[in-house]
Each structure stands twice: as structure tokens, then as C-alpha cells.
């Protein structure tokens, strides 16, 4: 029972990280009708930019003056700005040039861009510990110390076995908050509604008078910010970020988005959770299952694509002739 409970928590946490990346996919796909495959890499870039910003700001001695929450906020802001810029770059160099070509071109170009992002990160940072994970873990005291020394153990809040820690709650909380914020944004604001309109009918949206270009650019900015926060959570959850994790999160996020239904943002949540549950439970309950968890997750994906390509909660589209 305790095992089951622990594994469910694990699955939810993993699902949160997948979901955030998957939402990036859905957002881009919805508005631009392209698969922006470097979404995972943008998220990892976000995590690294937090780390880079941290290192620079810490060496300037800024964190010793500021309270913990403000510091975290500043770091997130920096990462968001950087990721939003990267989102714009992605749009400019990997999506826009291919607006009128075969849909597969932007897929390939974003894969290529993902490789470039990943390799540049690898060259600049190699693998480094995410200091924020430690900072969050130690309640801020360790903020001034870069990786290595004495982060305190997590305070145990609700605990059958110490699995639910403060950080895990933060991760789940932030994810829920982001989802709620996104929901409100999409349904209550003009920009959000325009994004929905564009995702449903681009030509019509232009006809209505929506400045499609502006909204598309905004989408990439918003997607970038979302992915930056996603990267932050991924890094905090894993306590480490690897430059090459972007590909993994990209593939899993894409898979999750497809399983849920590519053009449906809420599908991303379902898909992300489903994928995470499959992985965790294969890993946790089948002897020597870890080796096969990803394989089985991929088999699930293939199954979905072949037999239910519209995804779990996507709407079936009829081939337009």
C-alpha cells in the first residue's frame, strides 16, 4: 500500500513535468499547426538559464541581500525572458520560413534547432547541478552556495514515508497554478481567445481582423515562458539538469501531446499523466521493468497513433478534400 501510494506520487510528479512540456507542444501546434520539436530543449534551456543567471547574480552578491522568494522570482523572470526570446528565435528561424511548405519541414527544422540548442548548452555548461533545487530544498539558506555543500533534508509535511516533501508539493502546486492560469488566459482574455480562434481557423481569424502575426509571436513568447517554468520544475524535481535531457523531454512531451490529442491543450495533461503512470508502474512493479518502461511507453504511443490518432480527448477530424 505504501509502495502504491509512493509510486502514485512519483507518477504524478513525473506527469507534471511531462505535462508542462506537452502543453508547449499543444500550444504551438494549435496556433501554428506545426510540431515544434525543440520544446523540450527550450525547457532545458530554461533550467540552464536559471542556473546561469543564478551563478552570475550570486557572484555579484545579490542573493545575500534579497529574500528567498524575491530571488527565485528574479531567476524565473530572467529564465522566462531568455526562453521567450528563444521561442521567438524558434519562430523566426524554424517555423516562419516554412509557413507555406510541407508540414514536415518545420518538424525537421525544429529538430535541427533542438540539436543546436542542446549541443550549445552541452558545450557551455556540460552537466551541472541545478543550484535552485538545492536552494528550494534548504529553504533559501543554501542559495548563496553553489552546488556541493549542505542542503538540508526536505521537511516532511504529510508523510506516510517521507515521499511527499515540500518540493513535491511546490511542483504539483505550480503545475496546477500554471494550468489554471493558462485555462483562464485562453478563455477569458482577448489574446487567449484569438489564439483559440487561430488554432481553429487561421484564414477566418485574419478575416475577423485578428493580427495573426502578432498573436503567433505572442504564442511563442508565452510558450517560451511556460517552458521556462517547466524547465525550472524539471530541474528542481530531478535535482540535476543534463543538457541532453531536452531530447527525452521533447519526445515524451510530444508523445504525451499526441496521446492526449495534439490540438487540445487539455489533452496534454491527460497524455502526460498517462505516459508517466505507464512508465512509473512498469518500472515499479515489473521485476527489472525499468529497462522496459520507456519501450512500453513508446508502444502505448504507437498504439494510440495508429488506432486513435485524434488522441484521448481530441475531436476526430474529417479529411478535408
Amino acid at each position: 500500500m505504501e509502495l502504491l501510494f509512493g509510486q502514485i506520487i512519483n507518477a504524478i510528479l513525473l506527469g507534471c513535468t511531462y505535462t508542462l512540456v506537452a502543453i508547449g507542444f499543444s500550444l504551438f501546434f494549435g496556433v501554428m499547426d506545426v510540431v515544434v520539436f525543440c520544446a523540450g530543449d527550450i525547457a532545458i534551456f530554461g533550467a540552464f538559464s536559471i542556473m546561469g543567471a543564478y551563478t552570475i547574480l550570486a557572484s555579484a552578491g545579490i542573493f545575500s541581500v534579497l529574500p528567498f522568494t524575491v530571488a527565485v522570482f528574479i531567476l524565473l523572470l530572467v529564465a522566462s525572458i531568455l526562453c521567450a526570446s528563444l521561442g521567438l528565435l524558434t519562430y523566426r528561424f524554424s517555423v516562419k520560413p516554412f509557413e507555406n511548405t510541407s508540414a514536415l519541414m518545420p518538424l525537421l527544422s525544429t529538430i535541427a534547432l533542438g540539436v543546436v540548442i542542446k549541443e550549445v548548452l552541452g558545450l557551455v555548461f556540460q552537466r551541472v547541478v541545478n543550484p535552485l533545487a538545492k536552494a528550494a530544498a534548504s529553504g533559501g539558506e543554501a542559495l548563496a552556495v553553489q552546488g556541493g555543500r549542505n542542503p538540508q533534508a526536505m521537511p516532511v509535511l504529510i508523510a506516510p514515508d517521507g515521499t511527499i516533501t515540500e518540493r513535491n508539493l511546490i511542483i504539483i502546486g505550480v503545475t496546477l497554478f500554471l494550468l489554471l492560469a493558462l485555462f483562464l488566459f485562453l478563455n477569458k482574455t482577448k489574446i487567449g481567445l484569438s489564439m483559440q480562434a487561430i488554432s481553429q481557423n487561421k484564414d477566418l481569424s485574419r478575416m475577423i481582423g485578428i493580427n495573426v502575426n502578432r498573436i503567433v509571436i505572442l504564442t511563442f513568447v508565452i510558450g517560451g515562458v511556460l517552458l521556462a517554468i517547466g524547465g525550472f520544475l524539471v530541474g528542481s524535481y530531478n535535482t540535476i539538469i543534463r543538457f541532453d535531457n531536452g531530447t527525452m523531454y521533447g519526445t515524451k512531451g510530444f508523445a504525451a501531446a499526441v496521446v492526449g490529442g495534439l490540438s487540445n491543450i487539455y489533452g496534454a495533461i491527460v497524455g502526460g499523466m498517462l505516459l508517466a503512470f505507464v512508465e512509473v508502474f512498469v518500472s515499479g512493479y515489473i521485476p527489472n521493468g525499468t529497462a522496459y518502461s520507456s519501450i512500453i511507453a513508446f508502444v502505448v504511443v504507437v498504439f494510440f497513433i495508429v488506432f486513435k490518432p485524434e488522441g484521448i480527448i481530441g475531436e476526430k477530424t474529417v479529411e478535408k478534400v
Binding site: Q196, A197, L204, R206, I208, G209
Partner: protein
């Protein structure tokens, strides 16, 4: 003095290497309905798209109320008061009818005004009022056409452009659509550019007509002149 709502002179556009419009000129007086007749592929929709700025013109100029709008992007032209309704472009199928209408009123920020306009639209299009909370994707063809027109009208545009409103509709619906068009023109004094294949019906409501063939205006005149011309007597098969 008769005001010209729209003045187009010598517009040419291309699709890739293929010319779509060649030196097209036309004008619409304020409060008039002008129709453009032509077969499939004659360039009617391209013409409307060019007016709206969705297709770039190579040469020529477009003036709205005497003011050049050549340099404006589509959304600015919409802001200036050009609205286009085209059933072929579909609706926002995942949104409700009400939301579709609200999206049509994209530039109206005043909630009171918006509600007022919505009420007016419901009066003109009673059929939609029954369907307010239904998703647009589930509407019938006629209802969808009405929705597209209603969505364009809600802004009270200076120029309303209708792209083949009778396309694919049952005869009874066609009647209804043209009745609405006439009413919009007469009651709300709306200037309308109507693009049609259904020449007879279109000419019945129009004040002036153009015939477009292979991207060129080949004939223009009063409805009666058009009726008696070779172009309409032998209606171009769709």
C-alpha cells in the same frame, strides 16, 4: 455628390507565377450593393482577399472612403471597417455561436456596446438566437452562412463583402439569405460587395454589377444591362 465607399484601380495579383487578377478596377457607391459575377476560378475570392489585404497586390491601389489602404495589413483594414463573410472559410467550429459572434466583434472593447450589437444581430438573424450555445461546428449549412454574415455585420462595417453566400444552400435558404442581404442594405444602409455565381439572384438585389473572367473585368453595368449581356444570358456554368 455621390460618395464612393470603395475604389479599386488596376489591381493585379499573382499566385506564384500564375496571374490571378489583371488590371481589375471597380468601385462601389455608398449605400449600394455591387455584385461581381464570375465562374469558379475567375478570381472572385482572390479579389475579395486582395481588398482585405490577405493577398498582396502587385500593382494598383485600393481606396476606402477615398483613403488609400494599400499599405495596411489585414487587421488594420478590418479595423477601418471592411468586413468579409465567407461561408467557404468556415466558422470557429469549436466555439459556440455566441463566442463566434463575439470574436467577430473583435474590436469592440465596450461591453455595453457589444451587448447592444448582439441584440441587434439576434433581431436580424432570429435563427441564430436559438442556437447561441451550440458549437458552430454543429450548425447546418444555412445556419452557418447566416452566422458568417451575422459575424461580419456585428461590426457595422463600412463595407461588407459577401463571398458566395448562396453557395451550397437549399433554394429556400438562398431566398432567405438574399432577403437578409437586401434588408441589411435597405434598413441598415450598408454598402455591400457581393460576389456570386448565382447571377440572377445577385442582380435582383444589386445596384451595379461586374463580370469577371479569368482575372479580368470583362463587363460592367446596371443590373439590366448585365442581364441582357452575353455573360449573363449564357450563365457561366459553375
Amino acid at each position: 455628390m455621390t460618395q464612393k465607399t470603395l475604389e479599386i484601380s488596376n489591381i493585379s495579383t499573382r499566385y506564384g507565377q500564375i496571374p490571378m487578377l489583371m488590371n481589375v478596377s471597380l468601385e462601389i457607391r455608398k449605400g449600394h450593393i455591387a455584385c461581381v459575377l464570375g465562374a469558379n476560378g475567375a478570381g472572385k475570392t482572390t479579389l475579395l482577399k486582395t481588398i482585405l489585404g490577405m493577398v498582396k497586390a502587385d500593382t494598383g491601389s485600393i481606396k476606402l472612403n477615398g483613403e488609400s489602404i494599400d499599405h495596411l495589413p489585414t487587421h488594420k483594414r478590418v479595423e477601418k471597417g471592411i468586413a468579409m463573410a465567407a461561408a467557404a472559410f468556415g466558422t470557429l467550429h469549436k466555439m459556440t455561436v455566441e463566442k463566434n459572434l463575439k470574436m467577430g466583434a473583435y474590436y469592440i472593447n465596450d461591453n455595453k456596446l457589444l451587448n447592444e450589437r448582439l441584440e441587434q444581430v439576434y433581431q436580424s438573424f432570429p435563427i441564430l438566437k436559438e442556437r447561441l450555445n451550440q458549437k458552430a461546428g454543429t450548425l447546418s449549412g444555412g445556419e452557418r452562412t447566416m452566422l458568417t454574415i451575422a459575424r461580419a455585420v456585428i461590426n457595422k462595417p463600412t463595407l461588407l463583402m459577401l463571398d458566395e453566400p448562396s453557395l451550397g444552400l437549399a433554394p429556400i435558404m438562398v431566398e432567405e439569405v438574399f432577403r437578409v442581404i437586401k434588408k441589411l442594405n435597405e434598413k441598415d444602409n450598408m454598402t455591400i460587395l457581393l460576389v456570386e455565381q448565382n447571377a440572377q439572384k445577385a442582380l435582383d438585389v444589386s445596384h451595379y454589377g461586374y463580370v469577371i473572367q479569368k482575372g479580368q473585368i470583362v463587363f460592367k453595368g446596371e443590373p439590366d444591362e448585365l442581364r441582357s449581356s452575353e455573360y449573363v444570358e449564357n450563365p457561366v456554368a459553375g
